[in-house]
């Protein structure tokens, strides 16, 4: 191979991510302008936050591209412990912020942070680093234990908030990491069994989860209670039809669809831009995920490959779960759509992860 001095950024990846973020800003404004005006007296309330988040995110995406990701391998334990600490902080009175009956945020002087957003990537970094270092050990069950332990601990902390959706997300990502990093199939099966068995237990543990599950089976039975969110999401998507009602023409944003600017922004996209717009957005995510995996396939080292693939998995899992919820394919659960949903923590975390993937790409070009 000829060594080239110029390290090339993954322009397709960055362009796709920035496009999604731009769409996110527009859609967040469209979805939230009315509710923001009603609740905060300022229709730009969410837009301004989102623009700030997007700017910071873009900065991180570029900056992390210049960061030597290989340094992370050494700090893997520190990163994991930092992740756990942040997750634990939400339970500290005065620091943790409770909202909708869940403690998911940490209060900083001027902003709040959702540590579960960073924890996903903390876990990915740890798993990737561990697997890269001990890749031979992964063929034994014993070798899988650190990854399992990290995953389980993260899940436990997240579900205690409680946050079912991110727990599921973390569990899926952990499974993906184990698979990618070369765990044996019989070991995977051994791990999957108790995980699958845990699902009904978790559902029975919290009555609201069972009600939500029933609402998912037939949302029309309780269109004003448990089924409300799903019914309203259906109305939004249906209102859009094939071509959509046109940008800013959502009817559901008039307080009908709760979380229209965050977890259910995809419904508003469907309503305003139609099925066509939905497919475009899914296509953009496909490009992003594909670029992550492409980088993983071409990475110059195992850590880079596992890291890129892990980030790709986080994005893919979250997109799939989010859209599946919005379209009534799985029971409703709150999970932001990466790069698009309102929420600065999520934006910055995802953008930083994209930056790391870009770094892997830039490095692989050196070969």
């Amino acid at each position: 191979m000829v060594r080239t001095e110029r390290k090339k950024s993954d322009r397709v990846l960055l362009f796709s991510v920035f496009a999604l973020m731009a769409l996110g800003c527009v859609m967040v404004y469209s979805a939230s302008s009315y509710s923001a005006k009603v609740n905060y007296g300022n229709e730009y309330f969410y837009l301004f936050k989102q623009l700030a988040g997007a700017a910071l995110g873009a900065l991180c995406a570029i900056a992390f591209g210049f960061f030597d990701y290989r340094k992370l391998v050494r700090f893997r334990i520190v990163i994991l412990i930092a992740s756990f600490c942040l997750l634990a902080l939400v339970f500290v009175p005065g620091i943790g912020v409770e909202n909708y009956g869940a403690k998911r945020w940490i209060r900083f002087p001027f902003f709040t942070v959702q540590p579960s957003e960073t924890a996903k990537f903390g876990l990915v970094i740890y798993c990737a680093a561990y697997a890269a270092k001990k890749h031979e050990a992964l063929t034994t069950f014993k070798g899988l234990i650190p990854i399992l332990a990290a995953g389980t601990a993260t899940c436990a902390l997240v579900i205690a908030e409680p946050n079912m959706s991110i727990t599921v997300c973390v569990a899926l990502v952990t499974a993906c990491m184990l698979f990618i990093c070369g765990a044996k199939k019989k070991h995977l099966a051994l791990i999957a069994l108790p995980a699958v068995a845990a699902v009904p237990l978790l559902i029975v543990a919290e009555p609201y989860r069972f009600r939500r599950l029933m609402a998912f089976v037939d949302p029309w039975q309780s269109p004003l209670e448990e089924g409300y969110q799903l019914v309203q999401s259906f109305y939004a998507l249906a209102g859009g039809g094939f071509w959509g009602l046109g940008l800013f023409n959502s009817r559901q944003k008039y307080l009908f669809l709760p979380f229209s600017e965050s977890d259910f922004i995809f419904s508003v996209i469907g309503e305003e831009l139609g099925f066509f717009g939905c497919v475009c957005v899914i296509a953009a995510y496909s490009v992003v995920v594909w670029r992550c995996f492409r980088t993983a396939l071409k990475a110059s080292d195992r850590f880079g490959a596992y890291l890129s693939a892990g980030v790709g998995c986080v994005i893919a899992v979250q997109v799939i779960v989010n859209i599946a919820v919005v379209s009534g394919t799985i029971p409703p659960t709150g999970l932001p759509l990466p790069f698009v949903s309102a929420g600065t923590s999520s934006l910055i975390a995802f953008c930083s992860a994209i930056g790391l993937v870009n770094g892997v790409k830039r490095n692989s070009d050196l070969l």
Binding site: T139, I180, F242, Y285
Partner: protein, 626 residues
């Protein structure tokens, strides 16, 4: 080394393949929700996206046969309050309450403690009041224009038209019967609103209300006014419980006028006094039955002629009573009428004649004929809760009953049945269906049109003969007062005792007269009944006939029907008869050209009405008491 680079590559590709599959699956899923289920879902969603403000469809008008409105609409306001937008509850409710005659404190309480977005303060606020309030521009007070019923003629046809409830839905009468046509289709304004019901600043969509169809009736408002006048005068003149008049088109059965007194003003319906409302709004001419008495003899005669059991040469003897099955049934004149031809019998209204006729015909033929006239069954008039009258079960009719039915006892009919039957008798023998509606139509189509029947009940010759006989009753018999000089009028009087809980109610009568004109080719028939007259007399000839004559006279003038003969009106002085013998008095009256009704069976005249010396028209009927 098991964990090779190619293995990692393979696993990465597996993950990519899975993700690709899931993304595609989601696309399909979204397609289903957006496009396949879209339409049904949107139909459900539409309800929540807008607040709809109903736009009441104006009710269709009810017109008389010349297109003049009997019932029309007027604009009224409905006043609403949106509690959240009211700035000063105290002042606002004070102003509203005083203008709309409500309780200010109650209203204020309602506004303050409301959990709904909108309160209806008052409906049917008249236009002037509503407009005045609207000009004040009070915060949070809204108005919508509505239409409500307006009756240009107030009391006219009150029992026929019926009324609507506060929501403008027809309750009874024509308003009720034709409600499905009259009510129209409500429209609405769809005002886009958010989930809390707040209006959005967007253009509202509008579904136009469809005005109700027009009901064109057979009523003639002019003739109605004559009828209204007649019943009101009769009620007062005879201190009666009720007076009813039906004017019917002899050939079609169309009701030209139908009036009842006492009545009420449709523009101020006594909604708070249900008992009174029910009593006054009931159409006794369709819903209630009465024993017709002598007017029923028309049917007996017609059917006897039709069945050939009697003709002009038949003679009858009346000794004052008949013994049927060992039971003595009295004629109204207990002294008897002696030997009479059919025509005399009809003119004398001799009960014995009609007993003979009924008995000769037999129950089967008589009942068959009566049913042909529509007696004993509903006439099919376009009106709710019609009564079918009361006729004894055919199998249970004994000769005694048959004889009684022959002269109009032991049978009960509705006034509408009676006049419809009479129309069939005199119109050439064709059955008529009484009706109010001529047609129901709107700008686009005609929904209903009355089609007359052509079923024959009796032969033309029987009908012709009946007209002659009944004209004779007016010219020579007891129906004198039903006549109008110079015109040919046929008719028959009726005086029936009322029954109360199965027994004859003493001193309570229904006096009636049924007439038709012109007698040679009748256009109108009039039935006039006076329920419980409490004046100097109760004979149909005196209590009922004059009002029919009067009404006919007005109709002739209104319709431009010319008299057939020009007889100058002659007047005579009422002779002094008191103390004379009956035969003497009768001779004097005959010489003067006066006719008489006799009350009592004595030989010496005790008094007379009018009193001696009064100027009366020649040919008038006077009352003498013995």
């Amino acid at each position: 080394m098991n964990n090779s680079i190619p293995k990692t590559r393979k696993r990465l590709l597996t993950v990519i393949a899975s993700i690709t599959f899931l993304f595609m699956f989601l696309c399909v899923r979204v397609f289903f929700v957006c496009v396949i289920d879209g339409k049904t879902l949107v139909l459900r969603a539409k309800d929540q996206w807008s607040r709809d403000l109903p736009l009441k469809a104006p009710r269709g008008e009810i017109l008389d046969r010349y297109g003049r409105p009997i019932v029309e609409n007027k604009s009224v306001f409905t006043v609403y309050v949106k509690p959240r937008s009211v700035t000063d509850v105290g002042v606002t409710s004070e102003i509203l309450a005083s203008a709309l005659s409500l309780d200010a404190q109650k209203l204020a309480h309602k506004i303050k403690n409301s959990s709904v977005g909108e309160i209806t303060v008052k409906k049917n606020v008249d236009f002037a009041t509503g407009e005045k309030l609207r000009r004040l521009g009070l915060d949070g007070v809204y108005f919508s224009t509505d239409s409500t019923r307006d009756y240009p003629y107030g009391e006219y046809l009150a029992q026929v038209v019926g009324y609507v409830n506060v929501d403008n839905v027809g309750q009874n009468g024509l308003e009720g019967y034709y409600d499905r046509y009259l009510r129209g289709v409500d429209g609405k304004t769809l005002i886009p609103s958010d989930n809390s019901g707040k209006d959005l600043e967007e253009v509202a969509s509008y579904v136009k209300p469809l005005r109700g169809a027009t009901l064109a009736t057979t009523i003639d408002l002019n003739i109605q006014s004559f009828a209204e006048d007649a019943v009101k005068r009769a009620l007062v003149d005879h201190n009666a419980k009720r007076a009813n008049m039906i004017v019917m088109d002899v050939k079609t059965g169309g009701v030209t006028a139908m009036a009842s007194a006492p009545t009420y003003d449709l523009n101020s319906i006594p909604r708070n006094d249900l008992e009174m409302l029910n009593a006054y709004s009931k159409n006794t001419m369709i819903v209630d039955v009465y024993e017709p008495g002598s007017t029923f003899k028309i049917f007996t005669t017609a059917l006897a002629l039709e069945n050939g059991v009697a003709d002009d040469d038949s003679t009858f003897f009346c000794a004052g009573s008949r013994i049927v099955d060992g039971q003595r049934i009295k004629c109204w004149r207990t002294k008897g009428h002696g030997s009479q031809h059919l025509k005399e019998g009809v003119c004398n209204s001799c009960n014995c004649v009609f007993m003979d006729l009924a008995l000769k015909m037999g129950t089967k033929k008589f009942y068959e004929g009566l049913r042909g006239f529509g007696l004993g069954e509903k006439t099919g008039v376009d009106f709710y809760s019609e009564s079918s009258g009361i006729m004894m079960k055919e199998s249970g009719v004994k000769p005694v009953d048959l004889a009684r039915i022959g002269f109009g006892q032991a049978v009960a009919v509705t006034p509408l049945q009676l006049i419809s039957g009479v129309c069939s008798v005199v119109n050439g023998g064709i059955k008529v269906t009484p009706h109010f509606a001529e047609s129901v139509y709107d700008d686009n189509s005609e929904y209903y049109r009355f089609l007359p029947e052509t079923k024959r009940v009796i032969s033309r010759s029987t009908s012709d003969r009946m007209r002659e006989l009944l004209e004779a009753v007016v010219n020579e018999g007891g129906g004198r007062k039903g006549g109008v000089k110079g015109y040919r009028i046929g008719g028959k009087t009726g005086t029936a005792q009322k029954y109360a809980s199965g027994a004859i109610a003493n001193g309570k009568y229904v006096s009636s007269f049924v007439g038709f004109a012109p007698a040679d080719n009748p256009e109108y028939a009039i039935l006039f009944t006076v329920d419980e007259p409490n004046s100097y007399a109760y004979y149909g000839s005196i209590v009922a006939a004059p009002y029919v004559a009067d009404t006919f006279e007005k109709i002739f003038y209104y319709e431009g029907i010319k008299p057939v003969t020009h007889e100058p009106k002659e007047y005579v002085d009422m002779p002094a008869l008191t103390g004379l013998r009956f035969a003497q008095a009768s001779a004097i009256l005959k010489e003067k050209g006066l006719y008489y009704e006799v009350e009592g069976e004595g030989e010496i005249i005790k008094s007379s009405l009018p009193l001696p010396g009064e100027k009366i028209e020649k040919g008038d009927v006077v009352l003498i008491r013995t």
